[in-house]
């Protein structure tokens, strides 16, 4: 009797794995992130709830903030706000201490579709290109696919400076995302390997072909 090799539990596993591959790591990035707080979802890691509300973003902003009143932190070095779905930092020093000073800083009003109070920090390279893509809203669904390099990068980092400007920093490469992707891909490859192996064993009955036999 031939055994059903691909049964429902394994289809479910593969489906869950693929969903996790496409969505789960995004959630991980947004929720976890160690010291980084996600802009959407998760919990705030800093800021005060008693802070006054901030004026809404300009209409030309490529993405809106959460909507409604939002709380900000006050004081030097403390983060006040976040926007555009990027990753929020407490201060620009968090980024520059790891990646150095930017090659140049471009004011947002010189770029189409970017609010004037934004200060885009260009470090050059692929991550800066991604940042520009995010800033100008020219992203693609492909960026959410694991076979696109952008998938392994975070969203741009935003920090609200005490003077009201918003510093934007390029995305960073996420080794955690790469690790989980490799693990999931490895699991999928392993499942496929096991399916092929079991099929060979079952069909071949350990190397004996019964194609002309009345016996299975």
């Amino acid at each position: 009797m031939k055994t059903s090799i691909i049964n429902k539990p394994f289809l479910a596993i593969i489906t869950i794995a693929l969903l996790w591959l496409l969505v789960g790591t995004e959630l991980l990035e947004a929720r976890g992130g160690g010291s980084r707080g996600g802009s959407f979802g998760g919990s705030r890691s800093f800021g005060r709830s008693s802070a006054p509300s901030r004026p809404s973003a300009p209409a030309s902003a490529p993405r809106s903030s959460f909507g409604g009143n939002r709380s900000t932190a006050v004081g030097s070095g403390a983060a006040k706000s976040s926007s555009f779905g990027g990753t929020r930092m407490a201060s620009s020093g968090d980024y520059t201490s790891k990646y150095g000073t930017p090659r140049r800083t471009v004011a947002g009003n010189t770029m189409a579709g970017v609010p004037g109070n934004y200060r885009v920090n260009d470090y050059g390279g692929y991550s800066s290109s991604l940042m520009m893509g995010y800033m100008m809203g020219s992203t693609s669904m492909m960026w959410s696919m694991p076979f696109h390099p952008a998938f392994y990068y975070s969203r741009p980092y935003y920090v609200t400076n005490p003077d009201g400007t918003v510093g934007v920093y390029p995305p960073t490469f996420s080794f955690a995302k790469l690790f989980f992707t490799l693990v999931i891909l490895g699991a999928i490859i392993f499942v496929i390997y096991v399916i092929i192996r079991n099929r060979r064993r079952n069909n071949g009955s350990w190397g004996v072909t019964h194609s002309q036999s009345s016996f299975d």
Binding site: R197, S213, S214
Partner: protein, 160 residues
């Protein structure tokens, strides 16, 4: 009366079973044990169209839902095989055994046991990922008959 035929060269992978002239498939096990003392065992186990495993008496039951297939051997291939047939109604007194269409006489005993190998692993998650740790049941192909010679001695021969 039913006729069971076995066309084979002694290897499981080249063994076709015929029931009333039609080749059948899905077989798991076939046991024939006939003796002149009246012993008459003819059991067949097969998987039917409905995926159910049936255990039937070859000469006493109707082989319901058995799979009928086209002959798998060409005439050229059949030239290298032996065709062993038993025509019976389940009574040893009404049993004719023939080899390559020639009736045999002086049979004392006949024993045929053909069993395919299959794994009892199942399809659980553990078995799926753990591979088949349990070795599958070994295939068996035993077929021999015993004749009484003119000098009343017995000689046992392999059928195929």
């Amino acid at each position: 009366m039913a006729t069971i035929g076995i066309e084979s060269n002694g290897r499981l992978e080249r063994t076709a079973i015929y029931y009333n002239g039609e080749q059948i498939s899905g077989l798991k096990e076939l046991l024939l044990h006939l003796d002149e003392d009246g012993t008459f065992d003819g059991i067949i186990q097969y998987e039917g169209h409905d995926k159910i495993i049936y255990n039937k008496s070859i000469f006493g039951d109707t082989l319901s839902n058995i799979k009928i297939v086209e002959p798998s051997f060409t005439e050229e291939e059949a030239m290298n095989l032996r065709l062993f047939e038993i025509d019976s109604n389940g009574d040893i007194e009404n049993t004719v055994v023939s080899m390559n269409s020639e009736e045999l006489q002086g049979l004392v005993n006949l024993y045929v046991h053909i069993k395919s190998s299959h794994s009892s692993g199942g399809s659980s998650l553990k078995n799926f990922f753990g591979g088949q740790k349990d070795l599958p049941e070994e295939a068996e192909f035993k077929a021999e008959f015993t004749f009484r010679n003119d000098d009343d001695t017995l000689s046992t021969e392999g059928i195929f």
